[in-house]
Amino acid sequence: MATVKDRAPAGLGLNDDIGEQKRLALYRSQVRLREAEQRAYDLFLQNLVKGTSHLSLGQEAIAAGFAEAMVKGDLSFCTYRGHAHTLARGVPVEKVLGELMQRDNGLMRGKGGSMHLTSEEHGVMGSYAIIGAHLPIACGAAWRAQYKGDKDVSVCFFGDGTTNIGAFHEALNFAAVWKLPVVFVCENNLYMEYTPIADVTAVEHPAADRASAYGLERIVIDGNDADVVYRAAQKAFAKARAGEGPSLIECMTYRHSGHSRADPAKYRPDGELDRWKLRDPIKIYRERLKQFGVAEKVIADIDAQVRQEVDDATEACKAAPNPPLDIITTDVYADGGWAWRN
């Protein structure tokens, strides 16, 4: 297991720089992601989630921590493992489950599927399933902000495996040279699909150990502690908004589930999952809230409200119709249609 250099400072109390309201929001967000994705898995086992799906169970602190540090107008660029990031920006659970279930109430009415969740009104500028493709795209959105004097930050999430594709390196150099307001977030969950990242990477920390090649600070954080993630995000966003250029943040984490669908993840050594489950981000955070004196009832209420949202969303999706066939040919081109000839 990789060493974690940065830990939440203990004992500062509930009303430190993060504060009670934000901590409750971070907790709620993480529980919501967990419940929604666990439900997605259950629905997959019932054959109600079709196609594929890539869960972030165990990685919720990263999605929650970054999303809670973003403000309206900031842009998220996600991967196929993007349910959590999409939900964390406020997209309703029903819209995400509906897309996974390929129903008409889905976020893109079934035209995109689980790997391409997009909700521009929430700042979710797409989920990309070609490894690394969205890093340059995030640079372009950041370029627009720089050019127009807009203050938003483009935040790009990807995995450890993505650091070995060319687009990663092109984007990092490009962003650094152009000093773009973009934040690259590597979720190092120790595996690409099935192969340990250490087996295929020349350095120990696949993202952070490359940072110096692009003149960037080497940042490795505990990705399972939402406070640590939130603070790292705030710092990087402030730098971006100040016109001081990009950041690359490597978050150490672990996915509790397999890579996709029903992957049993047999390639993992015995005991590894159990060790990481001791550091389950939601467990860590629930404990922190208690330690800071948040009442059990407040926590239980959040849990119950989230459960209700997910239950309601599930029922709505089960009742939703399939998408109509007439959307097959819409929105190929900007005129709304698909005509390639007269």
Partner: protein, 326 residues
């Protein structure tokens, strides 16, 4: 009215659009301070400044990805890929990202950008710097694909491409950069998806694109002078959208069809046109449609070898004559 080279028409087209709309920005390798390897962007950096005309690293994926991100969020970028052959190293954006984001997002995502590139043979650069890749682009739903043959069309179609809300691949022919043509003063804006009858005729239709247009025109003059065959030459100009009405109309008049394609034979754009004509105008035809193409080989570098494989006016005229007389 002024005589302008195809190269200078590129400069004028970009400048016209950048002057009109501050959201139009331009990026590529060696395009700003150096004015481009084909000198087709000289003066733009001086005119529009370093924020709008930007040199990039040798990072084709970053160039196209950044153009897309900028387009999605409000700019109208023009990106240059130096040689169209290099599409192969950034094809993800051309094949998977630009053309599919709108569809996959159920209409949420926009991608109004133009990729300009130097396409085609004639410079004796060999198989990785001389290809005609229009057929690589034409096959992808969601893209528009344009290839002008004259300075006037360069300006008008480039303006139309920049103003178009969809991603447009704009193929400039390297061997046409030095050619000249008359261009009126003032703003010029054309329409995508329109073919042009560049030489009316009654005996046969010859459909061509980019560098093949002047060659088809030369062949038509030869056919007229030497054999009394009056060929109609249609410049397709835009592969997507495709102006099938002009093509079908011409075939209905002449009853014969030839395509002249620089791309290697398999799945060349002419195959699609022949298939459409066969489907929809079969009984208008007095003989089989014939495709005149570069053979299905990588392009050789040596002038004498390259000249032997591209369709020439002689080969076009000879093929048409033989088929019409048989």
């Amino acid at each position: 009215m002024a005589e302008l080279s195809y190269r200078d028409a590129v400069i004028r087209g970009i400048a016209q659009e950048m002057a009109r709309d501050p959201d139009v920005v331009f990026l590529g390798e060696d395009v700003a301070k150096a004015g481009g390897v084909f000198k087709a962007t000289v003066g733009l950096y001086e005119q529009f400044g370093p924020l709008r005309v930007r040199d990039t690293p040798i990072s084709e994926q970053a160039i196209l990805g950044a153009a897309m991100g900028a387009a999605m969020t409000g700019l109208k970028p023009i990106a240059e890929i130096m040689f169209s052959d290099f599409f192969a190293v950034c094809f993800d954006y051309i094949a998977n990202e630009f053309p599919k984001s709108r569809y996959m997002s159920n209409g949420q995502t926009k991608c109004p950008l133009v990729v300009r590139t130097g396409n085609g043979a004639g410079s004796r650069f060999g198989a990785q710097h001389s290809q005609s890749v229009e057929n690589w682009c034409m096959m992808i739903p969601g893209l528009k694909v344009v290839a002008p043959s004259t300075p006037l069309d360069v300006i008008g179609l480039l303006a139309a491409a920049v103003r178009d809300p969809d991603p447009v691949i704009f193929l400039e022919h390297k061997s046409l950069y030095a050619t000249k043509g008359e261009v009126p003063d003032g703003e010029i804006v054309d329409t995508l998806g329109t073919a042009k009858i560049v030489r009316p005729g009654k005996d046969t239709t010859i459909i061509a694109l980019a560098l093949m247009v002047p060659r088809a025109l030369e062949a038509a003059e030869k056919l007229k002078a030497e054999h009394g065959i009056d060929a109609e030459v249609v410049d397709v100009r835009s592969l997507v959208p495709l102006d099938t009405q002009t093509i079908l109309g011409s075939v209905a008049k002449t009853h014969r069809l030839f395509t002249v394609e620089e791309n290697p034979r398999l799945c060349g754009w002419g195959a699609e046109i022949v298939s459409i004509v066969a489907d929809e105008a079969f009984y208008d035809l007095d003989g089989p449609p014939v495709r005149i193409t570069t053979p299905h080989i990588p392009l050789p570098a040596a002038d004498i070898l390259e000249d032997a494989v591209l369709p020439t006016p002689q080969r076009i005229a000879e093929t048409v004559r033989r088929c019409l007389e048989s």
